[in-house]
């Protein structure tokens, strides 16, 4: 395992979270401690061990491709931060 060289600001940008200076500094210290703790996994020999993604014995679950009613439009739009004309208004994506 690589040594923890986490740059909290950089990762927060990837995660689309703006951080204040105080938060960035605090998280940097706290997460460095957490990563130091998980370093113990380095001592484990995982050669030839298959990864487990989940504990369920089911794979490739398929259903009939049949159209069913979706959610009620009004109740969905009621939760939108900004809706108009039966549409969700979004921040401009293209200039």
């Amino acid at each position: 395992m690589s040594s923890p060289n986490l740059d909290v600001r950089d990762v927060a940008r990837l995660a689309r979270i703006a951080l204040s200076d105080a938060e960035a500094e605090l998280f940097q210290t706290q997460l460095a401690k957490v990563l130091e703790y998980v370093e113990q996994l380095n001592t484990l020999d995982v050669t030839n061990v298959e990864p487990t993604a989940h504990a369920s014995p089911v794979f490739n679950v398929l259903r009939e491709d049949v159209i069913k009613p979706g959610l009620n439009r009004a109740s969905v739009l009621a939760n939108a931060p900004h809706a108009a004309n039966n549409l969700i208004v979004v921040t401009k994506v293209l200039d």
Partner: protein, 484 residues
């Protein structure tokens, strides 16, 4: 008759059937109880008794949960009710549909009436991460109720609920159940549909019940379980009656004592409580076997890689576009995302999203995420090997009794270690239950200790039978004591 709100579900149902009381009366008493005690406890985020009373008037008490009020953790969608997940991000959000567990509860006659406090997006072990208010432990109001389903556990302990639903990703049902002196069941992965449960870590999350008896948990599991086309991980299994094997002793049962769960660092009073619980199992006829789960010490590390990785993906949906908080006047789309999430999410959630994003990021994926998934395989194998020898495992639910509000908020790692005995069950997908096993006195207050039984995947019937036998022998003084 005792106060209605002191009754278990089973007792309430027989009171309905003998005509001593009615669902309307039970709801009115419950509402009065909540109004009286919840200002001190803070278990609820919202309630809708008007709607619940309409349902109670026409309740069919012949149904499996006919007219039984059930409190719901604020992470499970109930149509037309708020579902904040304890987050400012979802302030004002109204669920547009019923989660599958809610549809199943309604079909069985149960009545949802209130939303229970929790750590934001189920991330925490103390319910202090709720963006709304803290929840206090009914046994000592200066202490935390555990978490993340702290409201669900505290409400049952405080007689502000007959039973509640919670969710358990790394111990979020069992740990608060232990700290509040109630019974909490985490079913096996795949047992219950998560459709309508706001996802935290999808390979670990499971919904389960809290109650003041193992039998009530079994009755609820009968209703909640089953294959659901809306959750591909839910399993299609033969119908079982989980109450069928209750009321027995432990003769013929082999119970394993995992030696790695009895290490230094545990509160010595918790340790002696668990040792007494083990002795009780022997008196009930169980054969005790020492077993080893050699990869136990890696579980917390594995969990905080896998759970945060999955959370970073699941919580990407909170982008301020379709629902949830949106920042005012963004100057471009990046600013819209970054500020909406910065303003809507609390510190612990941000920390975990950042950690999860890091362990999945290019260059670190193999070192952290893939390695953790491989270690997860070893942890699962530990349990598979142990369950070849024994019917269930016995161990502490939490290394400590309830700690004081504020004591650990500035030390995330120490908070994470509170889950040390519950996390492995989620990684392995097995079932677990916490039942009260003792009281510890601190500063003149009695604080509950919980014992955890772990069963192999989909072996809930046997797990509940063992927990019920233990409860009958040992837990009743705690479960029957109203701490307020």
């Amino acid at each position: 008759m005792a106060a209605l709100t002191d009754l278990t579900i089973t007792e309430l149902q027989s009171a309905y059937r003998s005509g001593q009381t009615s669902p309307v009366e039970a709801l009115r008493d419950l509402e009065a109880r909540i109004e009286k005690t919840d200002p001190a406890i803070g278990a609820y985020l919202s309630r809708d008794f008007d709607r619940a009373l309409i349902a109670a008037e026409t309740a069919d008490i012949s149904l499996p949960l006919g007219g039984v009020p059930i409190g719901i953790k604020d992470v499970i969608n109930v149509v037309g009710e708020p579902c904040t997940c304890g987050s400012k991000m979802l302030a004002g959000y109204m669920a547009p549909y019923d989660a599958t567990v809610i549809s199943k509860l309604r079909a069985a006659g149960a009545i949802p009436y209130g939303r229970l406090n929790m750590d934001e997006f189920a991330m925490g072990s103390s319910t202090e991460n709720s963006a709304y208010h803290v929840t206090r432990n009914p046994w000592d109001l200066t202490r935390i109720p555990g978490g993340s389903s702290g409201g669900s556990a505290a409400a049952v302990a405080a007689r502000e609920a007959f039973a509640t639903l919670g969710s358990d990703t790394g111990g979020s049902i069992r740990q608060p159940a232990a700290l509040c002196g109630v019974v909490g069941l985490k079913p096996s992965y795949g047992r219950i549909s998560r459709y309508g449960l706001v996802a935290f870590a999808s390979s670990l999350d499971q919904i389960g019940p809290f109650a003041r008896s193992t039998r009530d948990c079994a009755t609820l599991l009968n209703v909640l379980c089953g294959k659901d086309e809306h959750d591909s991980t839910s399993l299609d299994l033969p119908t079982e009656d989980f109450t069928a094997e209750l009321g027995r002793d432990m003769k013929g049962k082999r119970i394993g004592i995992p030696k790695e769960y009895f290490v230094d660092g545990m509160d010595p009073r918790v340790r002696s409580s668990i040792e007494a619980a083990i002795a009780t199992c022997a008196e009930l006829g169980a054969e005790l076997v020492e077993v080893s789960l050699p990869h136990t010490s890696y579980a917390v590390g594995v969990y905080y890689i896998i759970a945060t990785a999955e959370a970073s993906a699941n919580l990407a949906r909170f982008d301020g576009v379709r629902y949830g908080h949106r920042a005012k006047n963004p100057h471009d789309l990046l600013d819209h995302y970054q500020r909406s999430r910065a303003e809507g999410l609390g510190s612990e959630v941000k920390r975990r999203i950042i950690l999860g994003t890091y362990v999945l990021s290019s260059g670190y994926y193999d070192a952290y995420y893939l390695r953790a998934q491989k270690a997860r395989t070893l942890i699962r194998q530990d349990f598979q090997q142990a369950f070849e020898k024994v019917d269930a495992l016995i161990c502490p639910t939490s290394p400590d009794v309830a700690f004081r509000i504020g004591e650990r908020v500035n030390d995330p790692l120490r908070m994470y270690l509170a889950d040390i005995f519950t996390i492995a069950a989620n990684l392995a997908g097995i079932c677990g239950i916490s039942v009260p096993c003792g009281l510890v006195e601190e500063d003149g207050k009695k604080l509950p200790v919980g014992v955890q039984f772990l069963g192999k995947s989909l072996d809930e019937a046997r797990l509940l039978s063992i927990a019920d036998a233990f409860e009958a022998a040992s837990s009743h003084p705690i479960l029957h004591h109203n701490p307020l």
